[in-house]
Amino acid sequence: MSPKTLYDKIWDAHVAHEADDGTCLLYIDRHLVHEVTSPQAFEGLRMAGRPVRAPEKTIAVPDHNVPTTADRVNGIENPESRIQVEALDKNAKDFGIHYYPVHDVRQGIVHIVGPEQGWTLPGMTVVCGDSHTATHGAFGALAHGIGTSEVEHVLATQTLIQKKSKNMKVEITGKLQPGVTAKDITLAVIGETGTAGGTGYVIEYCGEAIRDLSMEGRMTVCNMAIEGGARAGLIAPDETTYEYVNGRPHAPKGAQWEAALNWWKTLYTDEDAHFDKVITLRGEDIAPVVTWGTSPEDVLPITATVPNPEDFEGGKVDAARRSIEYMGLEAGQKLSDVEVDTVFIGSCTNGRIEDLRAAAEILKGKKIKDGMRAMVVPGSGLVRAQAEEEGLADIFKEAGFEWRLAGCSMCLAMNPDQLQPGERCAATSNRNFEGRQGRGGRTHLLSPAMAAAAAITGRLTDVRELM
């Protein structure tokens, strides 16, 4: 048998039908659902009189729209947001799918809840009407975002019509330097490949620096595979993975655990398997990074200066010029001189316990700069509870951060957490697009530790200076 990549193996295990032209019906093991991209899909089922084919494999949680302030127990003020969340309440009930409503302590961002509850397991196919579904690839699951029509297709048939992507390997060799995190890895990779560099590929991340990461860090890396244009990102499961999964509410138990483990241990890329594209970065070469523009590929070490648009080529010249103007920066300006007025720690990229620990470590015994608006939005109610138990919440609050309830919040600003025009935010989220965090708002992407450092100094800051 010819050697296979991890992606090949998971793909082959899920093909329910292959047509002559290579179009496949790929079976879906887990379908995650949230309130923004699903109402039209459920409506489609109702109109056609179709049930959800596998409700036991379908998990819903509201996250995009939910307020993160304590008063959300009184209901959602914005009528449109309220209607979307109420529609999900009703759809979950009518179609009999697993559901974590807003008031449930397990509620949170769908990509944090899935792994936390043990729904996401190695070797699975996982989809969700959300591009950051790539997160689940950290478990060695083939996970990607889909549109609403495909949400409806999966609800009705538990399959997707797919053609296989190409294989790409991203290897991070060696060790990371102090102050460098999973977020810096994933941004550095996008800086290398560009936001379209992964288009048509599924990426497998490997190498010592990836192996050394916790599951939280691996999720951060895979989460942003989509920002590099890839359909999905994958990391082969290992002891770190099994340890994280074992004992989770929906993870297999007893004899089933042993059977699962036996299969999971076959999920690795065979020696000599073919990759269509290979990228290698040295862990030692990766610095703490920030974005300067309005595309995640606009990434540079914190020690660098804002680039000159004329130094780019092709369409990037105009794009960079537009970005720098939108961001209110000047070519040649030191990134560490850029002042911020807002700090956001949270999102499916960096809203897990390890992220909060890393930020709290920097903030301990310190205060945020006067006039700074800083908030922590834990990725789930359980992350929040754990952070309170570990004393992290007190560190954040004493430093001057707002301590919020779980949700997507200011990552995409669909709820009341938004930037005003011209406000500048150091954010641990995943997109710095124009208007992403609020119309006219300016976003610099960075790691949780770097966000904490910016909150203290009031400007983009090399976290290594505070360590």
Binding site: I146, G147, A156, T159, A196, G315, D318, E434, G435
Partner: protein, 201 residues
């Protein structure tokens, strides 16, 4: 779904690269539970001023491009979120074809589900089409799906590739779910097999 055969209409140029789905439709408009009526907020933040009122500089607000049916866009069009509201807004505006040198994966898929034809062309052809789109309303392009050909207003013919299955579905207005349900027995068979092989799933 409506059948897609041929489009003969105004093509608008948007040479900016990396036009993301937040630009195509900002999140403030994702709070709908319907698919229709989003054309008016297509490219909202570029198309309207912060204080309201149209931005006259924006291409689709110019008299020549108000009836645009074909968009010629810069590289990596549709990157970012999976929101199908992006193609819903494009379709609702009246645009039926988007041409670029590359598209983001999820957006590309979403187009076909909504009767929009996304076409990938080589850079040299893209430049020809972009020039043609800059000519305005008197210059109409033709996109013929059956023949897989784009004809510029000057009569230059450019051929394009399209996945045969997707072409078939667009030409016949076929609904994916209905087609897949015809293969129900394959799915049953797979489920039986998988429940033995991986009972923990």
């Amino acid at each position: 779904m409506e059948k897609f055969e041929k489009v003969h209409g105004v093509a608008a140029p948007m040479p900016l690269i990396n036009i993301d789905t937040d630009m195509i439709i900002p999140k403030v408009h994702l709070k709908t539970i319907k698919r229709s009526g989003l054309g008016v907020v297509l490219f909202d933040e570029m198309r309207y001023h912060d204080h309201g009122g149209e931005n006259e500089e924006f291409v689709l607000n110019k008299p020549a491009y108000r009836q645009t049916e074909i968009l010629v866009a810069g590289d990596n069009f549709g990157c970012g979120s999976s929101r199908e509201h992006a193609p819903w807004a494009i379709k609702d505006f009246g645009i039926k074809v988007v041409i670029s040198t590359s598209f983001a994966d999820i957006f590309f898929n979403n187009c076909f589900k909504n009767g929009i034809l996304p076409i990938v062309v080589e850079e040299e052809h893209h430049a020809v089409l972009m020039d043609d789109a800059h000519k305005g309303e008197n210059a109409r392009m033709t996109v013929h799906l059956e023949d897989q050909q784009i004809t510029t207003s000057d009569g230059v013919v450019i051929e394009f590739d399209v996945d045969p299955h997707r072409k078939h579905c667009l030409l016949n207005g076929l609904d994916d779910i209905g087609l897949t349900m015809e293969k129900d027995h394959h799915i049953d068979k797979f489920e039986n097999h998988a429940s033995q092989a991986r009972p923990w799933v």
